[in-house]
Symmetry: C2
C-alpha cells in the first residue's frame, strides 16, 4: 500500500472535487491508500455518492479551513486545519508517502518548509509544474513561484532537483536542462543569469544544454527549464493565459455558424486531442520539490480529474524514488563552487 | 505625404519580404512615401515584380548589411549598412517620420539610443509589442527585452510610455495599466515590484489597476502591462511558444483523418479566425518606445504581411502624435518621487 494524504478542503471546488478526485484515483490504482483531512461530516457526505474500496480510505477530522486570504505564516499555526494537520501527519508518520493539496499556495510552501522540512542540503524548495509540450511529453519548469528572488546557487540546485524529478516522475533519462533567459546566446540576461550559466556549464550531474527562451518551454526543447520564481511564474501563467484564450476562441468560433457546427461533428476527436494538448492539469499539479516527502500543489480551481491526476503523480513520484535520487545527487555533485554574486 | 524608412535588408526573408511588404503598405495607404535602404540592385530586382506608385518610393543604396552575429555596438559604426544609414537619415531629416526594420534587435536598440536618441527626460527606451487579447483588441507589453535589468523609476516611465502608445496607436482612451507580477495582491513580488506598486499607486497621468499576472495579458484585463525587460521577454516568448504549439497541433490534427479533413471544409472560416486571433504580427511589430521618432522592430522571421502591418502601424503612430503625447505627459506628470531602492 502507498499511503497518500489528500487535503479534502483545499481549492475552490472542495470538498466536492477533492473527494471525487480521490475516489477516481483510488479506483484506478489498487495499491493506493488515501487519508483525507477535512471536515468529517462534509467529506462523508461527498463520499456517499461513490463506490470505492472503503478499506483503503480514511478520514481525519479537521474542523478548521485555511483560505486564500489567510496570511501563510499565521495560518500554519492553526493545527486543526486540513492542510496543517496533514503536514504534521506527513512529518510524523513514516509510512505516509506524499501529500496532495489544492489549497493556498503560500500556506503549502510555508507549511512545507516549517513543518515537514527540506531535504538536508537543499537551500529552498521550488514549485515545479509539468507543462505539456509539442512533443507530447512534459517540460518541467522550476521555480514557478516559491521564491520571488533567487541566487545562482539556488538555480543550480533547482537544476539538480528538476533532473531528479524528470527521471523519477516521468522516466526521462539524462534530462536536458535549459536556463530560462531572454535570448539563447551565452552572454544573454542579467548578472544572475550570466553567473548561473557559467556555473551550470561546469556542473556535474546535469545535462545542461544552455540558455532557452520562453517559447522553448512548450516546444519541448528541454526537459527541465530553470528559472527564478518570479519569471517562472510569469512564464507559466502567460502560457496558461494563451491556452485559455485559444480554448475560449475555439468554443466560440466552432459553434458560431451552422457550417462550423457541422464541421465540429467531423472534427470532434481532433478537437478533443487539441484540448488535451493544452491541458495544464493533465500531468498532475505542481510538485513542491526539495521537501523531505513529495508535496503536490494542485491548481486552486482543480476539478476531480486534476485531483486524481495529482494523486497519481504523487504515487508515481514515490515509486520513482524521487527523494533518495535527490539525496544521492546532492551527495555526488559538488556545488560548493556556486558562490553567489553578493557573497563573492 | 508621410515619409517612412524601411530597412530592406533586415530579417531572415529580406529583401523579398521587406520589399513585398513595403509595396503592400504603399498600395494600401496613398499618403505613404517609403524610403528603402539596402543593396540597390537587389531591392530593384524585387521591386520589378510588383505594380506600385513609383513616385512614392525611393531606394537609398547601402552596400553593407548587419546580421544577427554582429556585436551591436560595433555594428552601428558601419554607416553603409541599411539599418545604420536609415538611423542617420531619421535623425537628420525632419520630414522622415518613422523607421521599420526586421533586422538585429540589439543593433536596433543601440542605434536608436546612440544615433536617433531618446525623448528628453526618458531614461531608457522600451520594446513594446502589441499582443492580441481575448477581447479582440491588444494588450501592450513593455519592456520586452531592451533592458534586462530595470529600476522602479524606469518601470514608472514605461507606464507613461505605454499609456501614450495605447492612445496614439490604438485609440484607447484612459488605458488601464497593470504591473506584471507573480500574484495580484498588493504585497506580491520582489522588492522591485513592491516599490513600483507603491509609486504607480501615487502616479498621476496613468490609470493604474494594480498587479496583474501572466495570464491576464492575453485575457486583456489591462491595456498596458508593465514589466522589466527580462520577465517581459519571458512572458512574450512563452505566449508565442504556446501559440506555436496550438497552430502546430491544429495543422496536424485537422488533417489527420478523413473525418477531420471533411470537418475542416466546414470550419475553414472558424479556423482562420482562430489563427488570426493568435497572430502576434497582426498588430505590426514591437515599437521601440521612448525614442525621438517611432522605430518599429518587426520579427526577424517577418513575412510580407508583417512588414506591411509594421509600416501601417508606424504611420498610425505618427498620425496619432505619439511623440508629442509622450513629451506632454513627461511635462505634466511629476515622477521625481520615484527614487530607486539603491538611491534611497
Amino acid at each position: 500500500m502507498i499511503k497518500i494524504l489528500v487535503d479534502a478542503m483545499g481549492g475552490d471546488n472542495a470538498p466536492y472535487a477533492t473527494v471525487a478526485g480521490a475516489v477516481q484515483a483510488l479506483n484506478k490504482d489498487k495499491e493506493l491508500y488515501l487519508i483525507l483531512t477535512g471536515r468529517q461530516a462534509e467529506v462523508e457526505a461527498e463520499l456517499k455518492k461513490y463506490t470505492y474500496d472503503k478499506s483503503r480510505l480514511e478520514i481525519v477530522d479537521c474542523p478548521d479551513v485555511i483560505d486564500m486570504n489567510d496570511i501563510p505564516t499565521e495560518a500554519i499555526k492553526r493545527k486543526q486545519s486540513s492542510l496543517i494537520a496533514a503536514y504534521w501527519m506527513l512529518k510524523k508518520e513514516e509510512d505516509i508517502r506524499a501529500f496532495v493539496t489544492a489549497g493556498s499556495t503560500g500556506a503549502t510552501i510555508v507549511g512545507g518548509q516549517l513543518i515537514l522540512g527540506r531535504i538536508r542540503g537543499i537551500k529552498r524548495p521550488a514549485l515545479c509544474p509539468a507543462i505539456p509540450n509539442s512533443r507530447g511529453g512534459v517540460t518541467l519548469l522550476l521555480d514557478c513561484g516559491a521564491n520571488a528572488e533567487c541566487k545562482s546557487s539556488m538555480l543550480c540546485q533547482f537544476a539538480l532537483l528538476g533532473s531528479a524529478y524528470a527521471t523519477a516522475g516521468f522516466g526521462i533519462q539524462n534530462p536536458k536542462v535549459g536556463l530560462l533567459n531572454n535570448g539563447t546566446e551565452e552572454h544573454k540576461g542579467d548578472p544572475l543569469r550570466q553567473q548561473t550559466y557559467k556555473y551550470m556549464k561546469q556542473m556535474q550531474g546535469i545535462n545542461f544544454i544552455g540558455n532557452i527562451e520562453g517559447r522553448d518551454i512548450m516546444m519541448g526543447d528541454c526537459d527541465v527549464a530553470v528559472a527564478d520564481g518570479f519569471s517562472g511564474n510569469v512564464a507559466l501563467k502567460s502560457m496558461e493565459g494563451c491556452g485559455k484564450l485559444v480554448l475560449g476562441v475555439m468554443k466560440k468560433e466552432f459553434s458560431a455558424t451552422l457550417s462550423s457546427k457541422m464541421g465540429y461533428l467531423f472534427m470532434r476527436k481532433a478537437i478533443k486531442k487539441m484540448r488535451t494538448q493544452l491541458d495544464f492539469d493533465k500531468f498532475g499539479g505542481a510538485l513542491l520539490l526539495g521537501l523531505k516527502k513529495p508535496v503536490i500543489k494542485s491548481h486552486g480551481s482543480s476539478k476531480p480529474v486534476s485531483i486524481a491526476n495529482s494523486i497519481a503523480n504523487a504515487a508515481s513520484i514515490y515509486r520513482g524514488n524521487l527523494v533518495p535520487k535527490v539525496e544521492q545527487l546532492l551527495e555526488d555533485v559538488d556545488l560548493s563552487f556556486t558562490v553567489d554574486n553578493d557573497e563573492a
